[in-house]
Chain length 346, copies 2
Amino acid sequence: MRPRKRGPANKKATLVDVAERANVSAITVSRVINQPDKVSEELRLRVQQAIDALGYIPNQSASSLASARSGVIGVSIPSLSNVVFNDVLSGIYDVAGASGYKVLLVDTHYSPLEEERMVRTLLSQSPEAMIITGGEQTDACQRMLKNARVPVVQMMELLSEPLDMNVGFSHHQAGYAMAEQIIAAGYQRVGFVGARMDKRVQQRLAGFRQALEERNLFDTALVATTPKPSSIGLGGEMFRSLMASTQGAVDAVFCCNDDLALGALFESQRMNIKVPEELGLCGFNDFEASTFVNPSLTSVYTPRYDMGVQAATMIVNVLKGEPQSEKIVDIGFEVRLRQSTRRTAN
Amino acid sequence: MRPRKRGPANKKATLVDVAERANVSAITVSRVINQPDKVSEELRLRVQQAIDALGYIPNQSASSLASARSGVIGVSIPSLSNVVFNDVLSGIYDVAGASGYKVLLVDTHYSPLEEERMVRTLLSQSPEAMIITGGEQTDACQRMLKNARVPVVQMMELLSEPLDMNVGFSHHQAGYAMAEQIIAAGYQRVGFVGARMDKRVQQRLAGFRQALEERNLFDTALVATTPKPSSIGLGGEMFRSLMASTQGAVDAVFCCNDDLALGALFESQRMNIKVPEELGLCGFNDFEASTFVNPSLTSVYTPRYDMGVQAATMIVNVLKGEPQSEKIVDIGFEVRLRQSTRRTAN
DNA sequence: GATTGCAATGATAGCGCAACCATTGGCGCT
DNA sequence: AGCGCCAATGGTTGCGCTATCATTGCAATC
């Protein structure tokens, strides 16, 4: 390599440049940045001055390489556009940021193959820990994660055999609980509307189905699903088509999330179907709108922000070397009954 | 440093390990990874085999350090929980991902000081480009960005003096246009409900105000603002309190975004105020719910996904060395009139 | 048949930083 | 006084990779 040109401010300043200017050794500059209490007040000020004067910004690549610490937590989620992950990410960012970690985020578009590619990308950044979604990684992906020898949290759902740590709740139980409540509210012919149909949605459906089967109320004809991504518009469409195909032989509908449920609710208004009197309606995740819409929408609250906080906290604690309390955390859920299932008659 | 222990798989595999196993030089392995066409078929296969066998994952820190290319685009947004940025991020991620760039994302919580801190963090990762939000960076922050000598896109709004590139639309014009439409629909006493009141919301308000003032319709008493973050719940509260404080002397309300507007709409339903007959209502950003709610909500559509795509595309083109068409792109907006301002009488 | 050109591969030398160990000097203790 | 100790600072080395410049061998050219 050619000797570097030494023109004026030709290149970004390095540790050595700062050291020269402050008339100290490079390692002292490094200490000023990373372990300021190990440096005398006087030197620290002198060095800080040189840093400011040169506009020095440490090169994290070099630091990572030399110290084997990147300060990065890799996070993989299946969808950036699904609002559910916003809240989770907020929790992760808040905790990670407060502990000085950077978050490198990737979107797998609900594809295990893309997830594998993305995890490889993340691992090449030498993250100190990983937070990933669910448990449907490819074998190769799981192997990579194990070889990486960093703490891993799988979040969003409870797993029977997590790779390492796990925080989530049982989507099966949640689906079951919601179904029970619908029935308890007096509805009998309960339909299901589901989109995307990823693993977690399937589990909700399974829970729902079990609750109904136990009471001999389950009817496949009342279940409508699609691999398309959820949206309010889709919820409306699916609702209308379910009502048509069943010729109204449905007295309640459980939507696999609140987008669909809101769409169904708005559509039912246009169809002049009275909710909750003629039809019960409920969703999942409890978005803010569900509280405020008229009638307010029954839903299953999922502690998404807390889940993100929990995931990041587990990571940070392990990285700090603190004793680990729990490897698996059930963050729970909460059925929130509102007007949309409050059948007055019956 | 001590000689590294050579136990079995004691450490993660390196380029050299792969090279030894494949019986080639290290640089050849590097080529197999980065410029496969420069290596003969035979060697390429042999090396690939070794890579797979060892589960080798390149160390991006070392690569960045040696090549001065990180493959990272730094992105700074003011809020992770504001859904508006979801769409923008989706666009950025789609384009960046397709071009092989990683995205390092930070959240500044609408604070210029935190933004400065976060930009410093981003720059320490040697990003090849930066995408940041708006133009209210601190002086120090702007200086850092200039010294970094990487392409920078400021997005979300049009700036008179962008640091480098700029993509957005005029919030002033958008506010003005919406106000014009409200008036054209026959409303006269138009209120404004705004939350967060960041620069862009202020510009919307300024545009709104100008349109009303030009017609002698502006009345400060009808403007309600708060620094709190927007939400549906807040929209309901602010609407109710505006109606109370003005004793109903308002015949339309422009909310600075759709969260507030939906909250206001739901609240108006509970207050038995007929929209659009007794009251016109409109929002901003055009969330999906606005299309489907009853009555459907007039709003200003903002091309958020496209804006993300545009920002990332500009970056990628510059990085590719392609001739740059435009440094400043006005991505536009579109007033979408719906039922909530469709006054039947008058 | 000698020359040129190019494709394929290798050797060497850093990139900027921090781990490690060494050195210095001052302090408290017996 | 002599010893050990610790705080403050520095010198050297190497983290894992790629830019750069060889080197090799072979085909195409006249």
